[in-house]
Amino acid sequence: MGLSAYLILAAVIFCIGLFGVMTRRNTVGILLGIELMLNAVNINLVAFSWYHGEVTGMVLTIFAICITVAEVALGLAIVILLFRTRRTAMADQVDWLKG
């Protein structure tokens, strides 16, 4: 099967994640979508690393996982604060910065 299988897998997961980000109302769901996108990128990186036999991709993957963790923590914190102050976690109701 080779490399293309992994790349296609990663692309599919990325699109599912993107779709989720764009369409889910629940903010936690959006965060999950972002997670999916990030993990798809990780798959991509590992696949290239395995294909070329280099360690560079995996190093980048570790970096990405760290950043993902930080971002999730921050994101969930924002969602919780949002819920506490406005009693809603629905993304389409958070529009107070509109023009």
Binding site: M22, T23, I30, A91, D92, V94, D95, L97, K98, G99
Partner: protein, 615 residues
């Protein structure tokens, strides 16, 4: 260095009086003392005018003093100064004499005005005297125009002296606008003349004309434009409408401005520029015809008036027509001579009418009557003036009128001649009508409160009357026996015809109004529709009113509306449109994160596509 002061005195004396009275309010508010300052100025002007006249008369050479007024790179383009030659000094005598007499007369006529108002009146009088003198002694067309406009201003101020009366305020403005319309022509004419010949100066123009250096191409337009200005000031048809209404001003003002001086400015202009007009005979023909028509139409209108001042006003319009016709025939000197005599006896008539009005309290001749017994002096001078105007031999008016008629005949203008002759008949008729209704017959019951205490005027008013009457007689007698040199040969039958026509007019008036042999109503009805037309002023006033309303209420309003709602409207639309567009664009900012993500995604795809990534 001997500085020739004398030519400057006539013009500076009234100016000094005007400036003094105008700036020093306490002096002006004293009333009678202010009047004396003004009269002193006028007296000085008269005295110096006499000296100047005799000097020019003896020397035979004109005196010219001028200063550069507008200077450009090619030299002086306009000067201000004094030109004292035979014509101007003679006219100056008339102007200063009548100005002085009128100012003295006004002391008594306006004696019950509040002092501040009287002071204001004399400021205007002095200003007017200054302007008119400046016009008369102007060495060039530009100064003439400047003083011309100032004279118009003063007439506006004086006609509107009793500005609290709506009719007076309106009459003043009407006078200004009508003469300004003519002045537009004069201004255009002067500008065109400057381009055509390169100068405003009378002397230089005369030299150019004599040297044949003035191109005839387009000169007719220039002279016609100059004539337009004269037509406005000298109340030729159809620009005569302001003169009858101008009677709203005090009677001495009418005597000064609308008999002897301002209205004669137009005739004077044409006399001064006669050498130019001689080059454009077509324009002269127009001048003559308009003059003749003015003469007869105004005479007809005078027959239908009951206000003594309006009769005299229309009479002035008519006589101005005579002067213009003479000029149009090519003999400006005849017109000028008539100007001088007319100035004297018309001023006399107006002042006499003023005495009557002052005594009786009304202008309406149908409410007067039998005043000859109560005001014998006034009657005598008024009759002298009337006979002069009608043109009986031995009176001043006879000679000048005969000269005018002779000039028109010699110029070959038959129909105008006939019109003038008919006009002479009507003149005699309506003037005697006034005399009979005012002084003779039985006293009419009417609104005239003063009918019981009508008496001859006090010395301040009667002295000027007598001076003018005597002057009229003296001129008449003198020139009858020292017949002036005429450039044409009047036909032998002219004198007799003119006298006959005048006498028949007087007889008709006598029969109708004194003897009652002819019913005035039947007489009027015989003239048919002319009577109505005459009473309505031949609808000229209405025509101008319509034109004014059209411009004011339609053209101006439409343009004003367009400016606010269309021109500015476009601007406001741009502005409002911008604001609206902004409000629409705001909606892109929904505030929702997912919309932004969508936008970012689309943008990324677009960028990649543009860079040729997508297939």
């Amino acid at each position: 260095m001997a500085f020739d002061v004398l030519p400057l005195v006539p013009v500076l004396a009234p100016l000094t009086a005007a400036v003094l009275l105008g700036l020093v309010s306490p002096l002006r508010h004293t009333g009678r003392p202010a009047a004396f300052v003004s009269i002193l100025g006028a007296l000085t002007a008269l005295g110096s005018a006499l000296l100047l006249w005799s000097r020019v008369h003896d020397a035979g050479v004109p005196t010219l003093i001028e200063w550069a007024w507008l200077v450009e790179s090619q030299g002086t383009i306009a000067t201000i100064g004094v030109l004292a030659d035979a014509e101007s000094t003679t006219m100056l005598l008339l102007v200063t004499l009548v100005a002085l007499l009128v100012q003295v007369y006004s002391l008594s006529y306006l004696s019950d005005e509040p002092p501040a108002a009287l002071g204001r009146y004399y400021v205007y009088q002095s200003l007017f005297a200054f302007s008119m003198i400046g016009l008369v002694i102007a060495p060039n067309l530009l100064q003439l125009f400047i003083c011309w406009e100032l004279v118009g201003l003063c007439s506006y101020l004086l006609i509107g002296f009793w500005f609290q009366k709506p009719s007076a305020a309106r009459a003043a403005v009407k006078a200004f606008w009508t003469t300004k319309a003519g002045d537009v022509g004069l201004l255009i004419g002067i500008v065109l003349l400057w381009r055509h010949t390169g100068t405003f100066d009378f002397g230089e123009l005369r030299m150019l004309v004599e040297a044949g250096a003035v191109g005839l191409d387009g000169l007719a337009v220039i002279t016609f434009c100059l004539y337009l200005g004269a037509a406005g000031k000298s109340a030729q048809l159809p620009l005569h409408i302001w003169l009858p209404d101008a009677m709203e001003g005090p009677t001495p003002v009418s005597a000064l401005i609308h008999a002897a001086t301002m209205v004669t400015a137009g005739v004077y202009l044409l006399t001064r520029t006669a050498f130019l007009f001689a080059l454009t005979p077509d324009v002269l023909l127009i001048v003559a015809w308009v003059g003749a028509l003015t003469a007869i139409v105004a005479a007809m209108m005078a027959c239908a008036q009951n206000d003594i001042k309006r009769v005299l006003a229309y009479s002035t319009v008519s006589q101005l027509g005579y002067m213009m016709t003479a000029i149009g025939a090519g003999y400006a000197a005849a017109g000028f001579f008539h100007l001088l005599t007319h100035g004297i006896f018309k001023a006399l008539l107006f002042l006499g009418a003023g005495a009557v009005i002052h005594a009786v309290g009304t202008n309406d001749i149908t409410h007067m009557g039998g005043l000859a017994r109560k005001m014998p002096q006034t009657m005598v001078v008024f009759v002298i003036g009337t006979l002069s105007l009608a043109g009986l031999p031995l009176f001043a008016g006879f000679l000048s009128k005969e000269e005018v008629l002779g000039a028109v005949w010699a110029g070959g203008l038959t129909i105008p001649f006939v019109l003038l002759l008919i006009g002479a008949f009507l003149t005699a008729f309506y003037m005697m009508r006034v005399v009979f209704l005012t002084f003779f017959g039985t006293a009419q019951a009417g609104h005239s409160h003063g009918g019981h205490h009508a008496h001859d005027a006090p010395i301040a008013m009667s002295a000027p009357l007598w001076i003018l009457a005597i002057a009229s007689m003296v001129i008449g007698v003198y020139f009858t026996f020292n017949h002036p040199e005429l450039p044409f040969e009047p036909p032998g039958w002219l004198a007799a015809t003119a006298t006959g026509v005048a006498l028949s007019g007087m007889v008709l008036a006598w029969l109708t109004y004194q003897r009652g042999a002819i019913d005035p109503e039947r007489l009027a009805r015989m003239t048919g529709p002319l009577r109505l037309a005459a009473a309505k002023g031949f609808w000229f006033d209405d025509l101008f009113l319509v034109a004014y309303r059209l411009v004011q209420n339609y053209l101006a309003k439409v343009l004003g509306w367009t400016d606010r709602y269309i021109v500015d409207g476009v601007l406001n639309v741009v502005s409002a449109g911008t604001v609206s567009a902004g409000e629409q664009l705001r909606r892109v900012q929904t505030g929702k994160v997912q919309d932004y993500v969508l936008a970012v995604g689309a943008g990324v795809i677009a960028v990649v596509w543009m860079l040729g990534g997508l297939w």
